[in-house]
Symmetry: C2
Subunit: 233 residues, 2 copies
DNA sequence: CGCCATGTTGGAACAACGTTCCAGACATGT
DNA sequence: ACATGTCTGGAACGTTGTTCCAACATGGCG
């Protein structure tokens, strides 16, 4: 291919948008959301800023594209035939996103930021589609499908966003149960007049399992959907 | 008080943390989330960065505090007696946050960021408390109160985050219906094989009313809660 | 009444970041 | 061989968050 291996090929592998995105995701995974800088990127791929800007418009587009890539991958894993019922598939979609956030801790903040900036960008339709098909299969009448699907999507994104700190974020030295303990203790020391409920559920909060809680929320909404739209008489 | 009105009192009014927070919120409201810079702040309050850093640790704390202030104000408006049922009060709390985001467009992104960074900071317990009291009044058994309340909270935060762009964000020249039209049209041009559902609901999406849709989601979850935990036989 | 101690201020300076600009290297078509 | 358009990497710019410090105010003590 190349013309006789010149003294040192300009690059061992051509710089491409995909390679940049890949490096960006790896950098984010390794060093957190603050770790993705153009300086670090130019060092990782061995090049200058100009080269990157040739393939990508700006940092915002880079982050958006990275997010879209990861979300698309998470939704693609969907086993397709493993789950039998529509409910099961919805849980699978939700867990897919949940796990993706667990693998890529920066994803939560990024998803949230991106959705609030351009609510119907590339990511939202992906999720809407995955869930919507199952909502349809659930027998929800056409006029209510958008509402039901949106509700599920909003819950998933809200819950996923808050469950980002599942373990690693706190860095080494502080593990999950320690963190839950500290939070629970802090809640119990809140003003009894202003925070009676929060104080009361402090124990449930300490013992709770993120994933189980997340699924319980999904089931609650699914129950609501079936209650409001009973499956075909 | 002051010693004989010197040539020009150092400040007409002392610089305090509250005054800084107030100025920060005003700046955010006026110029958007990107408009809050220490330069702009020092200009607004007539001072230097050092003075601000004496009262506030860093920009993160400033944003967190501003967010907390606004959220607390939004939850305090709660009419307390206006709504009769627990369901009604939950809707009121939700709408309070919804409206706050409408008044302070930067709040959505900030809330999302803040919740994903420190999930159980100052803001979450506030919301948890407001909703939790009503969930308790709903007759949900104690062991399930945390789950039900969390589900509602996650939905509210997820939906609120995405509904930030209600009007203003797009700037003058592009109003809401134009935006919805464009989005709806874009959805209809998606790949029929990959996005059948999204294409099908494109029309519902164009016609939808954000607030009504938001409340419909709340009602769906409330229906789920009552279905799973029927009110005291 | 003067003077230090303490709390507070504002400006200058710094490092890091996103971004722009440009001179030049590479591959390709003629 | 040369001209052309694509692609590269480094130097430079403006802006941001933050730090540092000399100056100021005020209240208590001698």
């Amino acid at each position: 291919m190349a013309s006789r291996t010149r003294k040192s090929e300009r690059r061992t592998e051509a710089l491409t948008r995909e390679r940049i995105l890949e490096a960006a995701v790896e950098l984010l995974d390794a060093t957190g959301e603050g770790g993705l800088t153009f300086r670090a990127l130019t060092e990782r791929l061995v090049t200058g800023p100009g080269a990157i800007y040739w393939h990508v418009a700006n940092k915002g587009e880079l982050l958006d594209a990275a997010t879209d890539t990861v979300v698309a991958a998470a939704l693609a894993i969907e086993p397709a035939e493993s789950a039998d019922s529509p409910q099961g598939e919805i849980r699978a979609v939700a867990l897919g996103l949940f796990d993706a956030i667990d693998e890529h801790p920066w994803l939560a903040a990024q998803l949230a930021t991106q959705l609030s900036r351009s609510p119907w960008g590339a990511v939202a339709p992906r999720i809407l589609e995955s869930i919507g098909r199952q909502v349809r299969a659930l027998g929800v009448p056409e006029g209510s499908q958008f509402t039901a699907t949106s509700a599920l999507m909003h819950y998933i994104l809200g819950a996923a966003g808050q469950n980002a700190a599942n373990g690693r974020v706190l860095g080494p030295g502080v593990d999950r149960s320690e963190f839950l303990d500290a939070t629970s203790r802090a809640w119990k020391e809140l003003d009894p007049d202003d925070f009676p409920f929060t104080r009361a559920v402090a124990d449930q909060m300490r013992a709770h399992d993120d994933q189980a809680e997340f699924l319980a929320g999904i089931d609650l909404i699914l129950a609501g959907i079936t209650a409001v739209h009973p499956p075909t008489t």
